[in-house]
């Protein structure tokens, strides 16, 4: 079972879009995927038009929870919304709680991929999700603030590893909202090459209207625009992620 956290220190870099597309793509390719919404805003759940569930918050408290099989082979665990936000308070103060998610995932069976959609930032929930994952994928969009914040997350990963080695491996940085024609795009590539050489994935997710429209239509890019540029990009991301397993 591979556990991939999609995390970024900054909001709006395409975490949820990537998580949802990656999860759905993997499911389409025949894997059994569990997408865990770790964001109290329930972005991933809303993406599939799910109504609120006790979800992750309940599961972490040892109460029964349901996962929604939204597509064949693709299940979604709701975050629990407000309840998860409340839980964050204890997560922040209790060393036991921070490891709880990882241990809960240990008990799962019949799942090939767990994709964790983290909330923005490096708060308690994001940290717990990172602790629970094996790999982390960091989407970052082509602007200064996003590039700057990538460092924060990487630093946090190094810190986590420094203490007891329980930090996920960096799968790579994923440039999103990529517009090859924009005058700044080249610049972004060179900045990334300079700052994060060796950490950037080959794939770039192009700026695409289909990606914007998909959540409103309660589906992913594969549901809405399967023949778009963005779909192609996510397919290559998929290939890259699967190749990284070896």
């Amino acid at each position: 079972m591979r556990r991939i956290a999609i995390a970024a220190a900054k909001g709006g870099t395409g975490k949820t879009t990537t998580a949802v597309a990656l999860a759905h793509g993997l499911a389409l390719a025949g894997e059994r995927v569990l997408l865990i919404d770790c964001d109290p805003r329930r972005d991933s759940s809303l993406h599939f038009g799910l109504s609120p569930e006790p979800g992750l918050a309940a599961w972490l408290r040892g109460r029964p929870a349901r996962v929604m099989e939204v597509r064949a082979g693709l299940c979604v665990l709701d975050s629990g919304g407000e309840a998860l936000a409340d839980l964050e308070l204890t997560l922040g103060t209790d060393p036991l709680e921070e490891l709880r998610l990882g241990r809960a995932l240990d008990t799962l069976q019949d799942v090939d991929y767990v994709v964790l959609d983290c909330p923005a930032g490096v708060g308690p929930i994001a940290r717990a999700a990172l602790r629970a994952s094996h790999e982390v994928l960091v989407p970052l969009c082509a602007d200064y603030l996003s590039l700057a914040s990538a460092g924060l997350l990487l630093e946090r990963l190094v810190q986590m590893r420094g203490t007891n080695g329980a930090a996920p491996r960096l799968l790579g940085l994923l440039p999103t909202f990529y517009d090859a024609d924009a005058p700044s795009a080249l610049n972004v590539d060179s900045v990334l090459a300079e700052l994060h050489a060796g950490r950037v994935l080959q794939t770039r997710i192009a700026l695409c209207d289909g990606l914007r429209a998909a959540p409103a239509r309660r589906g992913t890019i594969f549901d809405c625009e399967p023949l778009s540029r963005a779909a192609l990009d996510y397919v290559s991301l998929l290939d890259e992620v699967r190749a990284a397993a070896a």
Binding site: H24, L28, A29, G30, F48, G49, L50, W59, G62, R63, P64, A65, R66, V67, M68, E69, V70, R71, A72, C75, L77, T90, G92, T93, D94, P95, L96, E97, E98, L99, R100, G102, R103, A104, D106, T107, L108, P124, R127, Q159, M160, G162, T163, N164, A166, R218, G219, F222, D223, C224, P226, L227, R229, A231, L232, V235
Partner: protein
């Protein structure tokens, strides 16, 4: 030894405190490779950590050049018996002090930093700092540990070598004869046998040789004999029977017969039997040739010779084999002997080795030797021990002496540092001073303090107790003065606060006498209080009179820490100096100075000198006094310290109230005109009189008689014992007695004070108590008076009533009409003498229907009847009654009586008024906030609720890992307990300091800091703790530490922090030490001891964040603490310390069973255990089993040494994080639900086509696009 000059390891880190943990790991590794013991490693780690912190802080200060990219290089390695750690940076050179700092100064100053340098010096053997082209370099060196002694091994080798040589020599000597004999014997035997054979053949050959005929039966017989011989002895090469002519008659070789025999060369001469032999070599074989004569029967005639040639190879081989057996046997014996010798040497050298090791240990640690060695060695050890004991004793004596010298040095330094360097410039006053310490360290102290608002404090103190304790008290005194005098104009209040500050910290039997004078440069008033100090001398230049001013007061520290008693005994007096007046503050050093005759200088001489030189300027006065003293003592050394401070008034007091007021005062005070009459006569309202009088003060004159008047009175009274007070007064007014004007009542009082009784009949009529209240109250001068002064800035016209009864004076200002609050200002004591008058005044005041504010600022004492009156008046008052500005001691009684619920009180008048009048509330809220802070009692100070839990950082974060929890203990939660967990290093110390400041702890709440879960404290950490303690001490709260681990405690002791930060081993002791209520005395055996605020037996999770201190138990040498872990309430932590044996099991098990409720996880932290036996773990195992029935589990964190051998049921780990990570969680099932109502059309389409086909299609589409 090559490994001891190992490689130099290098590490480079960014100059950031977060990377210090890397440095610590690096040092751990390097030191372990060098063979340091864990304890030494801990020390080196701390020292290097301090040095790196220093570099990061000083070389790369925040925002400094290159701070962001700054690197720090560390190289560590062993060279020539030293471990050398070099820390290189390229930042700013270090500018501070490199040498070992004086610890005394550090502790005294309660500085936050500076301990680091001290620690570095103490923990390392050598600390250097160099600036090289490569950068700045800190070089820390520590001597490598001594390798284990190889003495015995070398000795054994040498002895064994010698012994083996000897043994070999002996065996060679012993074996050589055997060796030789072996060959000879064998040869001889062989020769004998062969000879016998040869003679036998010769015998057989005789007939044939005698006959010398061919083919005779004799020759045939001879042939047969020859052949038989050849068969019989296979070694025989050739047999020849030769006749005298040399012809062979018979041989074993047929062809040889009748040939001529050639005798071999080298045949020996014939022996008695005619036997000859020769040794020769034939075809490479050793051959023995024998020749035996064949003789006739008479034995004289030789007829021939028998020659035998025999191969000797076999015989030689036999000899060789025999010799080899001999040699191997000898070798075996040698080896055995060597083994025995080796064993004997080992046995013999072991005690010697022990002795050598012991002596080495003695040299480094001073340990004694074991004297159990065999005879001689035992006695050598005993001799060494004896020598060691003597050496130690000598060293201790030397150390004692040195310590004493250091003590004195520290004390001297403290003293020189704290005495004022120069006299402040105080407007209108001139100050002269003199300080002569008697010995090396004086016990006197004087200081000038800027109080603010134009006030200056002057203090002269004498500390009973010299040396370091004395100067420490002096240091505290100085600190306390600096803290308490600021903005505190009341001399009495300052002294009582000083008492509060110091008394608790002073040792029994130590005390401080002190005189504190406040000079008011604006109003030219001097107020002063004395804590049991020698009197102050006032010289009135105008009248040439001297006064001994000695207000009542106990020395600080004498009454223990009973501040109430100290305050009760303390009087404050006020005085107005006129131009040219001189005040002399001194310590008893001057009056007790003696001359050669043993005569003391004494007070009289002093007063005389003051009169003589009083008109000089202050400096000249002091010099003249010193000269006078020197003349008196005639050069005798001082026995006590001498301190003089002379204050000279240059400016004089402004006249108060002008001519009229002076006349009025004169009329009332001197002529005895009732105040009301006098006021009426001079057209002044009584309130104005009282106000002016208060400003001018009754204190314009000292309350005592001047020395001169006193002396005259005493002389007269002693001379004329028959006279009554009236007659004495009359006599004194005559010029003969100096025209002294004294009222008879005053004379009576003064004489009584002097201990001179007047004739009974002569007692003048004293005013009966309360008779002053005969001053009409209701119909008294209730005149209208405009308020010109701003004392009561109410615009409403006020009617004023005054009161003067017994020891109480008062002024009631009531609004003439309409609503508003009346104000009753009282001054003096409310006791039985004044209660009657007060009662009627209160009746007047409350009868009018106003709200009444009673200002008790100047009331020193309220008797129970007084409280009763106030309560009754409060009940009666229509508009309500409120008390304002109570003094702290009065307020204490007020609170003790529970009056808070009966009579409201407030810090100041405006607040009190606001409590009574809703309309006035708004005005009060606009009042200056300073009013509240000035109040002494501050009864309305809001009690800030304490934050319950505060988490500084998540525990697993790198660098700053410190957790903090706060709880309260004691019945009323009067003791705050801060539990720290993690590492207290440079990073977390900042965090910790911030945390301390954010914890809104109540004033005067004792604070206990739990360090039991702290692994490491750097100097910054200690600084943070001491700073916190100092800050708390300032607001009257004590800080104690407890539960330090051994390694932390070592540093604590090294820094001598016990003086600033007391420490206890366990919580119970700490609670007792800070006076928490409801703490049972910690029993040693089988008892639960602490009353926790929140017992873990209640579900902790229910009260979210409720912080429990935990429960502790001490059974024998085992200390256990059970507390909630985390905030979930589902985990407990059981920390164990000390030694755990199974015999403590039953009571421990009972305790555990009673307090450990079923939880998901019981984390047993056994890292503090020193030793533990298997039986003890069984207790936990049983507990784990019972916990398992509730679905919980026990995780044990223990070191390798103490971990249970078999962990059946217990999950044993080395670290907490590891334990938490591997904790099993109950699988929670996730139910899967299919969501039906989505449009999956495209999804289904892709699935239908197959993923690969879809991807191909997709790629195709874009490839086409690209084309």
């Amino acid at each position: 030894m090559s490994s001891r000059n190992g490689r130099t390891e290098r590490l480079e880190i960014a100059a950031d405190e977060r990377h210090l943990s890397d440095v610590r790991d690096f040092i751990d590794r390097t030191c372990a490779a060098c063979g340091f013991a864990p304890r030494a490693i801990a020390n080196i780690r701390l020292a290097v950590d301090e040095a790196c912190t220093n570099v990061i802080k000083h070389a790369y200060p925040n925002g400094g050049p290159g701070a962001a990219s700054a690197r720090l290089g560390i190289a560590a390695g062993a060279h020539r018996g030293w471990l050398e750690v070099r820390i290189v940076d390229q930042g700013k050179p270090f500018e501070g002090q490199i040498d070992l700092p004086q610890l005394g100064e550090l502790v005294e100053a309660r500085r936050k930093g500076g301990f680091g340098m001290f620690l570095m010096h103490r923990l390392m053997d050598e600390v250097r700092y160099e600036t090289t082209p490569a950068g700045n370099e800190w070089i820390l060196r520590k001597r490598l540990p001594q390798p284990p002694s190889t003495f015995a091994r070398r000795m054994r080798l040498r002895y064994a070598l010698q012994a083996s040589l000897g043994i070999v020599a002996i065996s060679v000597l012993a074996v050589t004869p055997l060796w030789l004999r072996e060959g000879r014997q064998r040869e001889r035997a062989d020769l004998q046998a062969l000879r016998a054979l040869a003679f036998g053949l010769a015998e057989a050959a005789r007939p044939a040789l005698v006959q010398r005929a061919e083919l005779t039966p004799e020759q045939t017989h001879l042939f047969e004999a020859v052949l038989a011989l050849g068969r019989e002895e296979p070694r025989i090469l050739a047999v020849d029977v030769v006749d005298r002519a040399g012809t062979i008659w018979a041989a074993d070789r047929a062809a040889a017969t009748f040939t001529h025999f050639i005798e071999p060369a080298g045949l020996t001469a014939a022996d008695a039997d005619g036997f000859r032999q020769a040794r020769e070599r034939v075809d490479g074989h050793a051959v023995l040739h024998l020749a035996v004569p064949v003789r006739m029967g008479n034995g004289a005639t030789e007829v021939g010779t028998v020659h035998l040639s025999v191969r000797r190879d076999e015989i030689e081989a036999e000899v060789r084999a025999a010799r080899a057996r001999l040699a191997s046997g000898a070798l075996a014996v040698d080896a055995l002997a060597l083994l025995l010798v080796g064993a004997a040497l080992t046995a013999f050298l072991r005690p010697l080795q022990r002795l050598v090791d012991g002596v080495r240990g003695m040299a480094s640690e001073g340990a004694d030797l074991a004297e159990d060695g065999p005879g001689e060695i035992g006695s050598i050890a005993a001799a060494f021990n004896d020598m060691n004991a003597r050496y130690k004793a000598a060293r201790e004596t030397a150390a004692d002496h040195e310590r004493l010298q250091q003590d004195l040095q520290v004390a001297r330094e403290i003293q020189t540092a704290i005495l004022p360097q120069h006299v402040p410039d105080i407007a209108g006053y001139e100050i002269g001073r003199l300080y002569r310490p008697a010995g090396e360290v004086g016990g006197d102290y004087y200081d000038f303090l800027d109080v603010g608002d134009g006030l200056t404090g002057v203090v002269v103190a004498d500390v009973a107790g010299k040396g370091v304790p004395g100067s420490l008290v002096m240091g505290m005194l100085r600190t306390a003065l600096r803290l308490e005098t600021r903005r505190n104009a009341s001399a009495g209040d300052v002294l009582s606060r000083l008492h509060q500050f110091l008394a608790a910290d002073m040792r029994k039997g130590m005390f401080v006498t002190m005189l504190y004078v406040v000079l008011d440069t604006r109003h030219r008033v001097v107020s002063y209080a004395s804590a049991g100090h020698t009197p102050m001398v006032l010289y009135r230049a105008g009248k040439d009179e001297t006064f001994c001013l000695s207000p009542k007061g106990l020395p600080v520290g004498l009454a223990g820490s009973d501040t109430a008693m100290f305050e009760k005994e303390l009087d404050v007096e006020r005085l107005r100096l006129r131009t040219g007046d001189l005040l002399l503050l001194y310590t008893d050093g001057i009056t007790e100075a003696t001359n050669a005759a043993g005569e003391a200088y004494g007070e009289e001489r002093l007063v005389a000198a003051v009169k003589r030189f009083g008109r000089e300027s202050a400096d000249d006065f002091v010099r003249a006094l010193e000269a006078d003293l020197a003349e008196f003592t005639g050069g005798m050394a001082l026995t006590d310290d001498l301190t003089l401070v002379a204050i000279k008034e240059k400016q004089g007091a402004p006249e108060v109230g002008g001519e009229t007021f002076r006349k009025l005062v004169d009329a009332i005070d001197a002529k005895g005109v009732p105040v009301a009459d006098a006021c009426r006569r001079f057209g002044v309202s009584p309130s104005t009189y009282y106000r002016l009088k208060r400003v001018a003060g009754d204190d314009s004159e000292p309350q005592q008689l001047s020395m001169e008047k006193g002396a005259a009175l005493r002389r007269l009274a002693m001379a004329r014992r028959d006279l009554g007070a009236r007659e004495i007064a009359a006599l004194l007014r005559t010029p003969e007695w100096g025209s002294i004007d004294l009222a008879p009542t005053r004379i009576h009082v003064e004489l009584r004070r002097m201990g001179i009784d007047l004739p009974v009949s002569a007692v003048p009529a004293m005013p009966a108590p309360g008779s002053a209240a005969a001053l009409p109250m209701a119909d008294d001068t209730a005149t209208e008076a405009p308020n010109s002064n701003g004392a009561d800035s109410s615009a409403v016209a006020m009617s004023e009533t005054w009161l003067d009864a017994g020891g109480l004076r008062g002024l009631l200002a009531a609004p003439a009409a309409g609503p508003g609050a009346a104000l009753l200002q009282l001054e003096g004591c409310i006791d039985s003498t004044s209660c009657d008058a007060l009662e009627s005044l209160l009746a007047t005041a409350t009868g009018a229907g106003h709200a009444l504010v009673v200002d008790l600022a100047e009331v020193a004492y309220v008797s129970s009847r007084g409280w009763g009156l106030l309560a009754a008046a409060s009940a009666r008052a229509v508009g309500g009654l409120a008390l304002a500005e109570m003094r702290s001691d009065v307020f204490d009684v007020y609170r003790m009586l529970g009056f808070e619920s009966i009579v409201p009180s407030a810090a100041d008048r405006d607040a009190a008024r606001a409590r009574l009048l809703p309309a006035a509330r708004k005005a009060a809220s606009n009042a200056s906030p300073g009013a509240a802070s000035k109040s002494k009692a501050a009864p309305t100070t809001a009690i800030v609720p304490c934050k319950v839990a505060f988490d500084a950082a998540a525990p697993d974060d790198a660098g700053a890992s410190l957790r903090c929890r706060v709880g309260h203990a004691g019945r009323d939660g009067e003791v705050a307990v801060i539990a720290l967990e993690g590492i207290l290093d440079t990073v977390s110390a900042q965090l910790c300091a911030r945390m301390f400041s954010e914890l809104a702890l109540r004033e005067r709440t004792a604070v206990l800091i739990d360090l039991s879960c702290i692994e490491f404290v750097s100097s910054a950490g200690w600084g943070c703790l001491t700073a916190f303690a100092a800050e708390r001490a300032r607001i009257g709260s004590a800080v104690r530490l407890f539960g330090m681990s051994a390694s932390v405690a070592r540093i604590y002791e090294l820094l001598h922090l016990a003086a600033v930060l007391p420490s206890d081993d366990i919580l119970a002791d700490a609670l007792v030490a800070c006076g928490a209520t409801e703490v049972a005395a910690p029993a040693r055996v089988d008892a639960t001891t602490v009353a926790p605020t929140a017992s873990p037996s209640q579900p902790v999770g229910a009260a979210h964040g409720a912080s429990a201190v935990g429960i502790e138990i001490e059974i024998g040498a085992l200390q256990a603490r059970l507390e909630p872990y985390g905030t979930s309430g589902r985990a407990h932590r059981l920390a164990l310390r000390g030694t755990w044996r199974g015999d403590a099991g039953a009571s421990f098990e009972a305790w555990l069973g009673a307090h450990a409720t079923p939880v998901d996880l019981l984390l047993v932290d056994g890292r503090g255990l020193e030793s533990v036996d298997a039986e003890a773990w069984d207790v936990l195992r049983r507990h784990a089993e019972s916990l398992a029935t509730h679905g919980g589990q026990v995780c044990v964190v223990a070191s390798a040494a103490t971990a249970p051998a078999v962990d059946a049921g217990l999950h044993v780990h080395r670290s907490v994080v590891e334990a938490l990570r591997t904790q099993q969680s109950r699988p929670v099932r996730l139910e899967t639900v299919r969501v039906e109502d989505s449009d999956f059309s495209k999804d289904a389409e892709i699935r239908r086509e197959g993923w690969n086909a879809y991807v191909d299609l997709l790629r195709q589409a874009f490839r086409e696009d690209a084309l």
